[in-house]
């Protein structure tokens, strides 16, 4: 088990380094190849040659790509000094550089926005797991019943409807119409009830989409598991049917669900752009959307890295959970 853990951790670290390499080269090589100078993105097209040269020097844009990469890595761990025309700007570790547009350091932006997206993802995941698993299990156990058909129809709708549709409809009804919940984001440390009130609609909207998938997956898996020989064995031992379902069947049903959850927590970062835009949540999704529009490369790079880290960590947690559930994985 310990060697398994160490191997997984090592693999996760390697993964992150590779992601940095790929992302870094995409964002800094492609402008070079396409002839668009990052310096002009920083200062604007109309600026004079001297200003451009100053920026290149300050950001080290003329250095060989490997040197730039090394500087980028080094900055994350020890910080970096930007020097231009005698004045020096200190960027403390972990330094992801400065936004081209706002000239703000990127790390504080990330730490500011990450909790919003993280809270969105976790809250939604909790809701969709509860709803999806319950609906799926009940549908499987009462296959062909009214409940099964109704919940699978709702699930189909959930899978099919885009977030910006369900999101706007729910905003219109529950926030603007009925006024039950807030349509503004309040940080959790300011007021928990306000935060909760602002998050509940985004959570439910996201959970509707993902919960639908989970309900369908749970139903299919449960049906399969209930037909397994070991379920028959449990019944032959005289185990109560409730215990057969809760203990013997659910444990097996969880395996594919946990696997999917790892993938989805990553996917969620992508869906966060839509959700955060629909509900005006100041999270990573909105930040990156704005940055893409403004060709703000350092922000895109920073958000991509933190998102990738989140995905890698989520997958690591899932893999560990998976090996806890299924003893056969521990050998692998």
């Amino acid at each position: 088990m310990l060697t398994y853990l160490i191997r997984r951790l090592f693999a996760a670290a390697v993964m992150l380094v590779v992601i940095v390499l790929v992302v870094f080269s995409i964002f800094f090589l492609i402008p070079k190849w396409t002839g668009v100078d990052p310096a002009t993105m920083y200062v604007g097209k109309a600026s004079d040659a001297a200003a451009l040269e100053g920026i290149r020097q300050k950001l080290g844009l003329d250095d060989p790509i490997l040197v730039q990469l090394f500087e980028f890595f080094k900055a994350i761990f020890v910080g970096r000094d930007y020097t231009s025309a005698g004045s020096t700007t200190r960027c403390d570790a972990p330094c992801f550089g400065y936004s081209f547009k706002t000239e703000q350091a990127i790390w504080p932006v990330l730490t500011d926005r990450f909790p919003v997206t993280f809270g969105l993802a976790i809250g939604a995941a909790v809701i969709w797991l509860i709803i999806g698993l319950t609906a799926g299990v009940l549908s499987a156990l009462r296959r062909g019943s009214i409940w099964d058909r109704a919940s699978m129809t709702v699930a189909l709708a959930g899978v099919s409807l885009p977030i910006y549709f369900t999101g706007l409809i729910s905003l219109a009804i529950f926030s603007y119409g009925l006024g039950w919940v807030s349509n503004e984001y309040t940080p959790i440390e300011e007021s928990f009830p306000d935060w909760f009130s602002g998050m509940i609609l985004p959570w439910v909207t996201l959970a509707f989409l993902f919960g639908a998938m989970y309900a369908r997956l749970t139903r299919a898996t449960m049906l399969e598991v209930m037909g397994e020989d070991y379920i028959r064995t449990a019944r032959a031992k005289g185990v109560r049917e409730m215990v057969v379902i809760r203990k013997h069947a659910m444990r097996s049903t969880m395996t594919p669900i946990i696997t999917l959850l790892g993938v989805d927590l990553g996917m969620l970062m992508g869906n966060a752009i839509l959700t955060e835009t629909t509900f005006s949540l100041p999270g990573l999704g909105q930040a990156v959307l704005k940055a893409i529009g403004e060709r703000d490369l350092p922000v895109i790079l920073g958000v991509t890295l933190i998102t990738a880290t989140a995905v890698v960590v989520a997958n690591l947690v899932v893999d560990i959970l998976y090996s806890v559930i299924d003893p056969r994985v521990r050998l692998a």
Partner: protein
């Protein structure tokens, strides 16, 4: 079962429903297990009767789809649990276990009997054991359902049972997972689990089919030894006549959901009365005979249980179907008749013809 005369009537002429509790330990009367499907009713078991006494072993033999396993699951009451949305099996007849009728009994009552009074060993121990729980946990669970003891006591009992079925170092192996066991070990663990509550009826459904030949013999020896030790009644379900020859006191041959021949193992093996049994025996490879001919399989395939042939279910495959006069083999279902004391067969063949065929054609080739 040496003294069959007392209960013969119940077999030949299944008693009417509501008749008094039988004296036999296990008695099945006119059991019918039908599954309604979109294509029609699958008559997996269609009127089966037999009895079994404690300490005796009954071998139920037949090809795939003859209703053997469905019968065993029916006795265990496993056709009626956890079938929520699915089309339920339609079961009729009577199953008496120690004077209690199981089909009309409360489901919870039958559940409490499962594992304690009647236990089952399944064909493939890898799929029949839960892959996520240790062997020990699974045996402990089986014990604690029926015994109000703490985990320590149950664990001791589990180790004891593993030791009894011949698993080396049971103290350590109790914490192993099924995938860490070999096939034979798994089946031993399965047997330990089914015997943990000293059940009086043990049903072994193809207990050796998934195992290699050397292990098969060990497992059969184990089942026989344990039966002697625990004095349980055993039903062995198999398509392998070798297994039955090893274990069974009585043999019941099933075809198309019905019993076609029944008697003591010696009788059925050495003086079989039904052409299907002849076919089964003829298709068995024998190492003590010269290999002068190819194996002789029963021609054709098992009948569809939705459209069981009219008349004798075996008639389309029976080489002697034309011998009885008229259309009787195709129009009239043969009843199970006592052809010798304690030996029953359901066949239209006249006695003289049957004996002539056996003596002249069949016996010399076996």
């Amino acid at each position: 079962m040496t003294d069959l005369s007392k209960t013969d009537a119940a077999v030949a002429e299944p008693a009417a429903a509501g008749s008094p509790a039988p004296s036999a330990f296990l008695e099945v009367r006119d059991l019918k297990i039908h599954f309604p499907t979109d294509d029609g009713v699958v008559k997996s078991v269609d009127g089966l009767s037999f009895q079994l006494e404690k300490g005796k072993t009954l071998g139920i033999v037949g090809e795939s789809g003859s209703g053997k396993s469905v019968t065993s699951l029916g006795i265990m009451g496993l056709h009626t649990v956890g079938q929520y949305g699915r089309q339920k099996a339609k079961i009729s007849g009577e199953i008496w276990l120690e004077g209690k009728e199981l089909l009309t009994a409360d489901a919870n009552e039958v559940r409490r009997l499962r594992g304690r009074e009647m236990a089952m060993i399944f064909q493939d121990p890898l799929s029949a054991l839960h892959p996520y729980f240790t062997i020990g946990k699974q045996i402990i669970e089986a014990y604690r359902i029926h015994h109000d003891v703490d985990k320590k006591v149950a664990r001791k009992r589990a180790i004891e049972m593993l030791d009894r079925v011949g698993i080396p170092q049971p103290n350590q192996r109790v914490d192993s997972y099924p995938h860490e066991f070999s096939g034979g070990m798994r089946q031993r663990a399965m047997i330990a689990m089914s015997l943990v509550n000293n059940p009086e009826l043990l049903i072994a459904d193809e207990p050796t089919t998934a195992l290699d030949v050397t292990v098969q013999a060990q497992i059969l020896d184990l089942i026989r030894d344990l039966q002697k030790e625990f004095g349980s009644a055993v039903i062995v379900i198999t398509h392998d006549l070798g297994v039955v020859a090893e274990l069974a006191d009585d043999i019941l041959v099933m075809y198309g959901g019905r019993c076609v021949e029944r008697g003591t193992a010696d009788k059925v093996f050495y003086e079989p009365k039904h052409p299907y049994t002849w076919g089964l025996l003829g298709s068995m490879p024998r190492i003590d005979r010269e290999r002068t001919e190819r194996l002789n399989p029963v021609k054709g395939s098992p009948p569809s249980l939705i459209n069981i042939p009219d008349g004798c279910a075996f008639n389309p495959r029976c080489p002697y179907a034309d011998i009885p006069k008229g259309d009787i083999t195709r129009t009239e279902r043969p009843e199970l008749r006592e052809v010798q004391s304690g030996h029953y067969s359901a066949c239209h063949l006249p006695r003289e013809d049957r004996e002539r065929l056996w003596n002249e054609e069949i016996a010399p080739k076996l």
